[in-house]
């Protein structure tokens, strides 16, 4: 603590001036791509093709002529409505539960290493776990014979799997880490002394969090929420495993896309285009913010 704020010395004016000088117009241009070895450029080109060509083919082969008719179908609108509704709900749950978790994680520096690492691993697991495994795990917890599902069914008669609620739970499970990690990174960037100053001014812990800490972390919260919503909207593996694919109740856009591919490929492509559009909107709305939000 004693020394931590020393790093926050604003750059002295002389340093700042010399940095400005370096950025002046006379500075030589950056080295060009041509300076890289040919092999590197070739491999990078293949990587670019690998990333771009599938999307290009999707756009080229899309049934543009019948797109209006395909998108206006009741089944499409059902899937779209269900996807938007469930993703909105699961994102809301992620925000309400994930921000407190991010706050907790950002204050674990004094906790024993095992607690700190354990919590972090737990939060990160859904990121690296195949979603279908997540779906199986949710079944084992909340299924009719599940750890919690069995007593729940016995006591109330409520079963969760293969309902719209199951869709929301599956989406929440896979999307939560995106929100938590983005918000936590952002919280760690918040000046801890601002929170201390707020407390000495008379603010309760709750006021400090609400009026200082979270507002200062707002960019990360926004980025995390958008990423979380995009992930929830695209959720497939855990959803089809835990919630199935009943049109109108659990058949979300990604699930419908997969199923239509066998029945009506044109319809599948049309559905896929909606998901591509959502991804593009996400990217544009985040621009470069998500990198700093998630990795900082």
């Amino acid at each position: 603590m004693t020394n931590s704020h020393r790093s926050m010395h604003p750059t002295s004016s002389s340093t700042r001036r010399s940095l400005l000088l370096q950025r002046g117009p006379s500075r030589p241009r950056r080295s060009r791509v041509g300076a890289l070895p040919c092999g590197v450029v070739a491999a990078a080109s293949v990587a670019i093709a690998l990333l771009a060509l599938p999307l290009v083919s999707l756009v080229i082969r899309a049934p543009w002529g019948q797109l209006g008719e395909l998108l206006a179908r009741a089944s499409t609108l059902n899937a779209l409505g269900l996807s938007l509704g469930t993703a909105l709900l699961s994102t809301g749950i992620c925000v309400v539960l994930g921000i407190p978790l991010a706050l907790l994680l950002s204050r674990t520096d004094d906790a024993p290493v095992i607690v700190r690492r354990g919590l972090r691993a737990l939060v990160t697991i859904p990121l690296v776990l195949p979603p279908v495994v997540g779906g199986v795990a949710l079944l084992l917890l909340l299924g009719r014979q599940g750890l919690l599902g069995a007593p729940l069914a016995a006591l109330t008669g409520i079963t969760i799997p293969f309902t719209t609620a199951a869709v929301v739970i599956a989406q929440t499970f896979v999307a939560m880490p995106f929100l938590v990690l983005a918000v936590e990174g952002s919280l760690r960037g918040v000046n801890a002394q601002a929170a201390i100053a707020a407390a000495t001014l008379g603010a309760s812990r709750w006021t400090v969090v609400r009026r200082v800490t979270l507002p200062l972390a707002a960019p990360g919260i926004l980025a995390g929420t958008v990423l979380c919503a995009a992930r929830a909207l695209g959720e497939f593996g855990a959803t089809i495993t835990f919630a199935g694919s009943f049109p109108g109740t659990t058949q979300t856009l990604p699930v419908a896309t997969y199923l239509e591919l066998q029945r009506d490929p044109d319809a599948a492509v049309a559905l896929a285009l909606i998901l591509v559009a959502v991804a593009l909107v996400t990217l544009v709305s985040l621009r470069d913010r998500w990198v700093s939000g998630v990795t900082s």
């Binding site: 004693t2 926050m8 100053a197 000495t200 001014l201 603010a203």
Partner: protein, 247 residues
Amino acid sequence: MSEPLTVRAQMLARRDAFELELGLEVEAGHPLAIIGPNGAGKSTALLALAGVHPLHAGRITVGDRVLTDVEAGIEVPPEHRRVGIVFQGYALFQHLTVRENVAFGPRAQGRGRDVAGALADSWIERVGLSEFAGRLPGALSGGQAQRVALARALAAEPEVLLLDEPLSALDIEIRDEVRADLARYVRQFAGVTIVVAHDRDDVAALADHVVVLERGGVAQHGTLAELSAAPATEFVRRFSGGIGEPR
């Protein structure tokens, strides 16, 4: 007439392997400076007084109020101590305007929006920044930001004002002027002031007494003149000689 408001502190604080042991008695109107090499425990002492860093043992009182008494299990939280702090980097709320920053204390203490706003305006005027009231902190110079931090702390009506190297982040060209202003505000403050500093001129302008902290303990205390006359350690000798803090 009762005695002036006095801070009495006996503090034993630990941070990992580091141990700070410090006794203080500071009266209102006679500001104290804490000096010492980096890592001597100066900032830890301030954070302990503010109730942010827990004490391992000891007792802190302000007048009749007991803020911390480890043995009796008393630990008044920072928001109820009436101990204000100005950090070296000022720690302004970057998302709030200057007026909102200064009104934060009164608001947090339950004053209405209008009352808090009026209080903030009067403090902002007192530090000469009225035309900047609607600006965000990012638009301020270092000297202006420091005055906002000071106004913000004073608007919360603290009994104790802690200044953690309040001039160290400033460019050398403006430092004399800002120091003179700060000294004026500190001298007008009715409560107890404790300032951490490492510059002899800052200490001379802001404080009447000096405590020298080295390796977590008091190496010497007295006025600047007393320190100069009989420096107890190499650090004090260099400090008094005007050579400055060894780095």
